[in-house]
Amino acid sequence: MRFPTVTSPHLTPPHSVGRVMTQVILALIPATIAATWYFGWGVLINIGIAVTTALACEAVMLTLRRRPLPPALGDLSAVVAAWLFALTLPPLVPWWIAVIGIAFAMVFAKHLYGGLGYNPFNPAMVGFVVVLLSFPRELSLWTIPAVLAEQRLGFTDYLNAIFLGHLPAGLTWDALTSATPLDRVRTELGMNRTLDEIRENPFFGDFSGRGWEWVGNWYLLGGLWLAYRRVIDWRIPLAVLLSLCALAAAFHLFDPGRFASPAFHLFSGAAIVGAFFIATDPVTASTTPRGRLIYGAGIGVLIYVIRTWGGYAEGVAFAVLLMNMAAPTIDHYTRPRVFGTRRGERDAP
């Protein structure tokens, strides 16, 4: 699908939805490989389930809405949403959770609002929040990362676990899964232990949980490449990460025993993937330069607030959805000055 500009002397830029989405997928590949290495084949299986379901739902909804199939199915936006959604899921989650989440995202969050370009909320995050609220127990089944795990499952073991719910003989869910670093810190802080005591556990590495802390770097790699290619605006990820770090640093200096360091916040959970891949969704993010800084900073602040005082260990999804809601207002108040008008002067209606 192409949206050529109409003013005369410009050449049409070679950006189309399909091209942008292809580059996002390319940027996700290193992180996907890394996640598969750390957390097992389940990551790839989840992506497969989510992408298939997303395309099927998209086709059904397009047919119901009497829209042509090829342009919307070929622009890969559904694939990107499904891919990101699948990366948020624990690798051992039963197949029907991935199906329910992404189907809800495509049908309710995307097509009921009018399809790509009209959805006020990020579909991948809506899908994740739906399954997180509905199936909290299943969503905690994160496999132990490769550097810590004693047993690793093969590809067929994963297929069995995801589709049939069977584990190989002699293994239990407890032996294969553990809490995420954010979850663990949250639980143990609740038991009145200080961060230094918590970090003594071999589970924790230099910045965050061992294994967990390095996955984010691969997202960072892909994200920086996207920013270099101007597929995403650098302002949003910068504002997200800066505001998260600034808040974390302030509280960490105030009481290092109770508030985790900025590095922990940066390298735990979905901070980096959220900043580069989820907050930058062109449809649901703010569109003005100043607005993007405010939008990103809002997400960073909300992530910190939810992680530290909220009811959930990780707040990226909620933070993004809340700021999605605020984006139109932010855009309204940060419209750039029209060239040729003076500051404070209203441009012609």
Partner: protein
């Protein structure tokens, strides 16, 4: 003619001007308590009773009340009726009363009730006001029960759970487990489920209305063609 008028009042209340689906009045209890079918039915019937009593009173005194003070008078009538209903539910359906909690006294603030008093009962005779109350109340109850059933079915995989709260111990058998070994879909029970469910019901009603209108125009055209031929 009178019969025809009453039929229109009934059809308006039950379908064309339905409180829950068209007027979108009384959404607070509608969204908050419909986590299962029986809750919906309980609150629906309480609202129906309130409507019947308040519409009847307002219609009877419609020629006595000066227009300047009509709103406080209506509010007083509705508040006394709701207080009576609240006390009776507390006495006879105590468990259901505990579940519905604050939403029973809050029937006072249900704008559908004062809306009917002001817009209909204060201008119409007693029989018409009663029919209107019945239609509006039944229409509201139907939406509450449908939404409650929808959310209960998807959220916990049962229907008519806790029926004994309303119909006594004998009704315990009414509870149906639709899906054995259902894990539950919490979203349907939580507030978002209420909004999404109501949205789907309204969409469904609009689809039915469009279909009926299309069928009506087709029939009208056919009749016209037949009469010209």
């Amino acid at each position: 003619m009178a019969d025809n008028g009453l039929r229109k009042v009934l059809a308006d209340g039950l379908w064309h001007n339905n409180t829950g689906l068209v007027q979108l009045l009384g959404l607070c209890p509608l969204l908050a308590i419909t986590t299962n079918t029986i809750n919906g039915l309980g609150l629906g019937l309480a609202t129906l009773l309130t409507l019947l009593a308040s519409n009847a009173c307002v219609s009877l005194i419609r020629n006595l009340v000066r227009p300047e003070v009509r709103i406080p008078v209506y509010v007083l009538i509705i508040a006394s009726v709701v207080t009576a209903i609240e006390l009776s539910m507390n006495a006879w359906f105590h468990d259901l009363y505990l579940i519905l909690g604050i939403f029973i006294p809050l029937i006072v603030t249900n704008c559908a009730i004062i809306g009917r008093a002001e817009a209909f009962a204060s201008k119409n005779s007693l029989p018409r006001a009663l029919v209107d109350a019945l239609a509006i109340g039944l229409g509201f109850t139907a939406v509450l029960v449908t939404l409650g059933a929808l959310r209960e079915l998807i959220g916990s995989g049962t229907l008519f759970a806790q029926a004994h709260l309303m119909f006594g111990e004998a009704a315990r058998g009414l509870a149906i487990v639709v899906w054995e070994d259902y894990r539950g879909f919490l979203l349907a029970i939580l507030p978002p489920g209420a909004f999404i469910g109501l949205g789907l019901l309204i969409a469904g009603k609009n689809v039915i209305d469009t279909r009926m209108k299309q069928a009506a125009t087709v029939r009208a055209k056919a009749a016209q063609a037949a009469s010209t031929a």
